[in-house]
């Protein structure tokens, strides 16, 4: 395909599609919970973790990326509850710290290979994805679907209204912490495909586009990953055809989809 061998194209395509599904699902959660900046904070935490991996020259920095991202999730939820601040505010206060740490780690990393390693952390390296990494993404998708199904009704109650959910006997705190944890893992794992800077686009844009089309939250959980897949596929094809970076092409496709959805949204029509 486009002059590239299938053993490169296939994992790249599968990886992009899986990230599209995963980010669409997580995006539906964070957009409705008004935690859009969460993806931003998590990706910077994952970036810092992966940068530490570069500094320490570990074989696979992904695990440190996951560890940092999950640690951020573990801190953010209780901190927001404890400080009685909006979680978005806490996220905003947290992310410059992780970004600064990431840059410090890169600065201290051994010079050999730092250029491509750091760039790959920031912008992703879809063409470098292996079938093993595709399997990791599939495993994470399976786990995410299991969590969503197992705690689906508690999540729905939380997404409707947190206070109403608490008032009807739902334990909202563990459910919202589970969301943070899930988002953290998905961000860290997906970062290899889209890069730390673009994962935010993949998480927020297809989900926000889905919210423009339907009022039924259950349909949004189908539409958001579907739009994530369309963005990933479109970005993938454009990138191969025009010789552009894949991560950036996927992000631009997502943005275009969001723009079109916002303009054509039936929700913007006045009720007559």
């Amino acid at each position: 395909m486009f002059g590239l061998p299938w053993h490169i194209v296939l994992p790249t395509l599968l990886g992009s599609l899986l990230v599209g599904i995963l980010c669409g699902l997580m995006g539906a959660l964070v957009v409705r919970m008004k935690l859009s900046s969460l993806g931003f904070a998590m990706s910077h935490a994952a970036f810092a973790g992966a940068a530490l991996g570069l500094m320490l020259s570990v074989a696979d920095p992904l695990w440190l990326a996951i560890a940092f991202s999950v640690a951020t999730a573990a801190v953010l939820g209780p901190l927001a509850d404890l400080s009685r601040m909006n979680a978005d505010t806490v996220v905003g206060a947290f992310f410059p710290l992780t970004m600064a740490l990431g840059l410090i780690f890169i600065n201290k990393a051994p010079s050999a290979g730092i250029g491509s390693g750091a760039l790959s952390l920031l912008w992703g390296s879809v063409l470098g994805i292996t079938m093993d990494q595709v399997v990791t993404l599939m495993t994470i998708l399976g786990a995410a679907l299991l969590v969503l199904l197992a705690f689906g009704k508690e999540l729905l109650a939380l997404l409707l209204d947190r206070k109403l959910a608490e008032a009807s006997g739902i334990r909202t705190r563990p459910v919202s912490y589970a969301v943070l944890f899930l988002v953290a893992v998905v961000v860290a794992v997906s970062m290899r495909v889209t890069g730390g800077l673009l994962i935010y686009a993949m998480m927020i844009l297809p989900a926000s586009a889905a919210f423009q089309w339907v009022y039924d939250i259950k349909k949004i959980f189908l539409l958001a990953p579907a739009l994530g897949v369309i963005s990933a596929l479109a970005g993938f094809l454009v990138s191969l055809a025009a010789d552009l970076p894949i991560g950036s092409s996927i992000a631009v496709s997502s943005a275009a989809l969001f723009l079109v959805s916002t303009i054509l949204s039936p929700k913007r029509r006045r009720v007559t």
């Binding site: 009704k153 729905l156 206070k163 008032a167 009807s168 919210f211 339907v214 009022y215 939250i217 949004i220």
Partner: protein, 241 residues
């Protein structure tokens, strides 16, 4: 003597970060099927009382029991069986939930983890929509309904929940006169259907207060009157004289 549905014994309560308590030494006993109206000026502690009864705000002193269980210890279990209509709860137009899903979510707390509503639950939800008269709205987005219709949806949740205790905070506030009458009628139907005890907070008059058998007046977090509506009226008249 009949077991109380709600019992508060010398309860104090304060919001987090507040140095001054919002409720002071409140003692109340509600029995099955009673409708009790709670009135008083803004900031008197009316909403706080409801939040203390369902455990959303823990009492800082005293004991709160509902259906004989401690709210402090069994709050989640109890809240799944108490219908609470918060004063400020209105769904914005973009809310991505259909009416039926909003009503269905009322039973999620009761059925517990890793289970979905049974056939009986779904039948009860359907019956709730029908009793409240909003069957035709079931597939409509909740945020697209009027304030009065949204109040009806919340009352349908109480029926779906099979709640025996209704905590209604300004249920007819910001509604037009027709909608007020409509909501008041449905509250009566729901109370009757569930044989429920109702604690209704209001700072305005209207049909819901007129129907109350008992009236509690709050001022500055303290009960200044607890008795039949007529007794309060006589007392106020005497004060004017």
């Amino acid at each position: 003597m009949e077991d109380p549905v709600v019992q508060l014994e010398a309860v104090d309560a304060a919001y987090e970060g507040e140095r001054i308590a919002t409720l002071h030494g409140v003692t109340i006993r509600l029995t099955r099927g009673e409708r009790v109206a709670v009135i008083g000026p803004n900031g008197a502690g009316k909403t706080t009382l409801l939040e203390v009864v369902n455990g959303l705000l823990p009492a800082t002193a005293g004991q709160v029991t509902v259906f004989g269980r401690s709210v402090q210890r069994e709050g989640h279990w109890l809240r799944a069986r108490i219908a609470y209509m918060a004063q400020e709860l209105f769904f914005d137009p973009a809310t991505p939930f259909l009416v039926k899903d909003v009503v269905t979510a009322a039973v999620y707390g009761r059925i517990g983890w890793l289970r979905w509503p049974s056939r009986a639950d779904r039948d009860r939800i359907q019956a709730a929509l029908s009793t409240v008269g909003i069957e035709d709205l079931a597939r409509r987005p909740i945020g697209r309904l009027s304030g009065g219709q949204q109040r009806k949806v919340l009352l349908a949740r109480a029926l779906a929940q099979n709640a025996r205790l209704l905590l209604l905070d300004e249920p007819t506030a910001n509604l037009d006169p027709d909608a007020k009458l409509d909501v008041a009628r449905i509250v009566r139907d729901v109370e009757k259907e569930l044989e429920a005890t109702a604690l209704v907070v209001s700072h305005e008059g209207g049909p819901l207060l007129e129907d109350a058998e008992r009236l509690i007046h709050f001022d500055d977090g303290r009960i200044t009157h607890d008795g039949p509506m007529r007794a309060l009226r006589e007392r106020l008249l005497a004060m004017e004289v």
